[in-house]
């Protein structure tokens, strides 16, 4: 997709302000500074060269030193008053500061002191420059799992080392396995470790709060072909439909649902793909109050039987 004119305008204004502070800068460095290609920098410079104040005579235009430019160095000689860096818009400041705070809150345990200090100083400087704008938004992400686990995962990812995990799944079965970590994905609900599991020789997603122990091994992690997915959890399995009262809408908002249908009486149906029966049983137990119907019906019988067994276990305790 072609770059938007507004984004390009911002970068060109930024370049003028930047070059005004830096004398001659090689094209590649400018490219790195603004995160674009060298060709893009040269295209931007060519545009800047022909813009200026009305009249557009040579002395009206933004100008560069042509000899330097021939040698691949951008040296600004006339800025036409555009030397000041542009302030951040309100929403820009909000978005950036809130993102930094989210990083700070989530990653703190996984970072070493020097890294924590960089994050903090960036946050402090930005907050000072943008005032109270950022108080409009407050982001708190779930920080799951024990700090030792988070730190071991961070170390293994950074040093590209293999991890030994003790992990308990949704059916409450604990296993030990070695994995090559790929990525830690913290959504607002939970953190997951995406890793190549050597036990099953396939990619697996581990909920960090179910990792009982993580130990960094001496072996290097091998590279595996794991696609970069936006969605964390893509189950495949039996299609189950829950018909729920409106109050249970959180189900549609916090579970990976295939489809939601709002019904005229205010109730709604969600379709779920269920990989782990234990997970579904747990969900149905939680929403029993608001459950109108579950399809297939056998699931209701299974959950009811499990609930009666649990009630029997509770009997000695009374109320």
């Amino acid at each position: 997709m072609a770059e938007r004119a507004s984004d390009r305008l911002l970068r060109m204004l930024g370049m003028v302000a930047y070059l005004d502070r830096h004398g001659g800068v090689p094209v590649e460095e400018v490219a790195e500074q603004f995160g674009v290609s060298a060709d893009q920098v040269m295209a931007d410079v060519d545009t800047l060269w022909v813009t200026g104040t009305p009249g557009y005579f040579p002395h009206d235009l933004i100008d560069f030193d042509a000899d330097s430019y021939d040698q691949g160095v951008v040296r600004l000689t006339e800025a036409r008053g555009m030397t000041r860096p542009l302030r951040l818009g309100t929403r820009e400041a909000v978005a950036l500061v809130a993102a930094l705070r989210a990083l700070d809150g989530t990653l703190h345990a996984a970072l070493d002191p020097a890294e924590q200090a960089v994050l903090r100083s960036a946050l402090d400087k930005l907050t000072a420059a943008t005032g109270d704008a950022a108080s409009a938004v407050d982001v708190r992400l779930a920080v799951d799992g024990a700090p030792e686990v988070a730190a071991a995962i961070a170390t293994a990812l950074r040093d590209r080392r293999r991890l030994h995990l003790r992990y308990v799944n949704a059916s409450d079965v604990a296993t030990e396995r070695d994995v090559d970590p790929v990525r830690l994905v913290t959504e607002d609900d939970r953190s997951y470790l995406l890793a190549w599991c050597l036990l099953v020789d396939d990619e697996r997603l581990f909920r960090v709060d179910r990792v009982l122990e993580a130990r960094v091994l001496d072996e290097p992690a091998l590279a595996h072909d794991v696609p970069d997915r936006q969605d964390v959890y893509r189950p495949h399995g039996e299609l189950v439909t829950l018909h729920l009262a409106s109050r249970a809408r959180w189900v549609a908002e916090s579970s990976p649902v295939e489809a939601v249908r709002n019904l005229p009486d205010g109730t709604f149906e969600v379709d779920l793909l269920v990989e782990q029966p234990a997970w579904l049983r747990h969900l149905v137990l939680q929403v029993a109050d608001d459950l109108v119907e579950v399809r297939p019906a056998r699931i209701a019988a299974e959950v009811a039987a499990a609930a009666r067994a649990a009630l029997a276990a509770y009997e000695p305790l009374g109320e």
């Binding site: 004119a5 507004s6 984004d7 305008l9 911002l10 204004l13 930024g14 370049m15 302000a17 930047y18 500074q33 603004f34 995160g35 009305p54 557009y56 036409r80 542009l86 302030r87 309100t90 820009e92 909000v94 978005a95 989210a102 990083l103 960089v118 994050l119 960036a122 400087k125 930005l126 420059a129 938004v137 407050d138 708190r140 961070a154 990812l157 409450d172 970590p181 607002d188 009262a245 409106s246 109050r247 809408r249 908002e253 916090s254 747990h282 137990l285 939680q286 109050d289 459950l291 109108v292 209701a300 009811a304 499990a306 609930a307 009666r308 649990a310 009630l311 029997a312 276990a313 305790l317």
Partner: protein, 350 residues
């Protein structure tokens, strides 16, 4: 006909002209003298082009101000206010700029992502070359996309402007228009929330952005209400603040519930001797006592019910009642004469 001047170049010429003008430029002056506007084929085309360009500049945070001059009647002129144009002095190290680059990845929301990227472009003008950092190789958290409601609500909170939107209430499923003074936006476990003053209800309320249907429209002028005082805001936020931590005592079958055991803490100092308890004592012959800290009773009850009889709540008794309530309801699920849902007794599902 000469080649048309592309939009980014015309916009740049407009910015430079409005920054350098002595005083102001009228629309006519812009049309005659700023390179790019001569491409407009008609008065209408020019009007549209100029209006859109002004909007673009303002959207980018470039302060285009209107100036009326007494000597020129109603004739409106424009200039860019350099005092509010500039970023306050800020000096970013290479490592700091590297961290900021990572912050842009936090948002899954397209609008928030665009805003962060723009902010970053502006800051690159004043920073050292960003250091590629391995601060968070593969660690970047992500905030769930909030949908189209987020950007206009951020603007409205900032501008203290009343908003109107259609909202589906979770308790009743009722869909209704709400008129709200927006105070603050929260991203929490489970999604985005707006906290504000509901004008119809005359009280503070919170709204899930995922239940807003359709667009969010500003109503009236900016600055239409007072920002809430700290006490008022805190009261409205109480339900989203972390509650005091308590400790649950659980009787767990051997080898079961490792995830709970991993969170276990030592017994509280005032813990009774459960082995001497006539009801609990015999249970402990086959079970381990595990203490788990918690803040939200219903959240823990929701978790514990998944273990069925493998985990029994010994204390506190409200927590046990919570679990038993879920189990009793679920135990009825296969009864053919079950009368559907019980709407009166509600749990505040956050």
């Amino acid at each position: 006909m000469p080649a048309q001047i592309p939009a980014h170049e015309r916009l740049l010429n407009l910015v430079i002209a409005l920054v350098n003008t002595s005083g102001r430029m009228t629309k006519e002056q812009v049309r005659r003298s700023v390179a790019g506007y001569q491409d407009a084929q008609s008065d209408d085309a020019f009007e549209r082009m100029f209006e859109r360009d002004k909007d673009t500049l303002r959207e980018l945070g470039i302060p285009v101000v209107t100036v009326t001059s007494a000597g020129h009647g109603d004739d409106i002129g424009y200039r860019i206010d350099l005092d509010t144009y500039a970023l306050p002095p800020i000096d970013l190290t290479a490592a700091e700029l590297g961290v900021l680059a990572m912050a842009a990845q936090v948002w899954q929301d397209q609008a928030m992502r665009t805003d962060t990227t723009r902010a970053l472009t502006k800051l690159r003008a004043v920073g050292e070359a960003p250091e590629a950092n391995d601060l968070a190789v593969g660690l970047a958290p992500r905030v769930r996309a909030a949908g189209g409601a987020l950007a206009p609500l951020v603007d409205a909170v900032q501008a203290r402007q009343v908003v109107r939107f259609t909202y589906r209430a979770a308790t009743t499923g009722e869909v209704r228009t709400r008129v709200v003074e927006p105070w603050k936006l929260l991203a929490r476990r489970g999604g985005w929330l707006l906290v504000g003053f509901d004008r119809d209800r005359g009280a503070s309320r919170s709204f899930r952005l995922s239940r807003i249907e359709g667009g969010v429209r500003p109503v009236g002028e900016p600055g239409a209400f007072e920002a809430p005082g700290p006490d008022e805001l805190e009261a409205a936020l109480t339900q989203w603040a972390p509650r005091e931590e308590r400790v649950a005592t659980l009787a767990v079958l051997p080898e079961r519930a490792s995830a709970l055991r991993a969170r276990a803490v030592p017994a509280p100092a005032d813990e009774p001797d459960w082995s001497a308890d006539p009801a609990v004592g015999p249970l402990l012959a086959q079970r381990d006592v595990v203490h788990v800290p918690f803040r939200s009773g219903w959240e823990l009850a929701d978790e514990l019910v998944g273990y069925g009889g493998a985990v029994l709540v010994v204390a506190p008794v409200e927590l046990r009642r919570g679990v038993l309530h879920l189990l009793r309801t679920a135990a009825e699920l296969d009864r053919p004469d079950r009368s559907g849902t019980d709407v009166e007794e509600g749990r505040a599902h956050g």
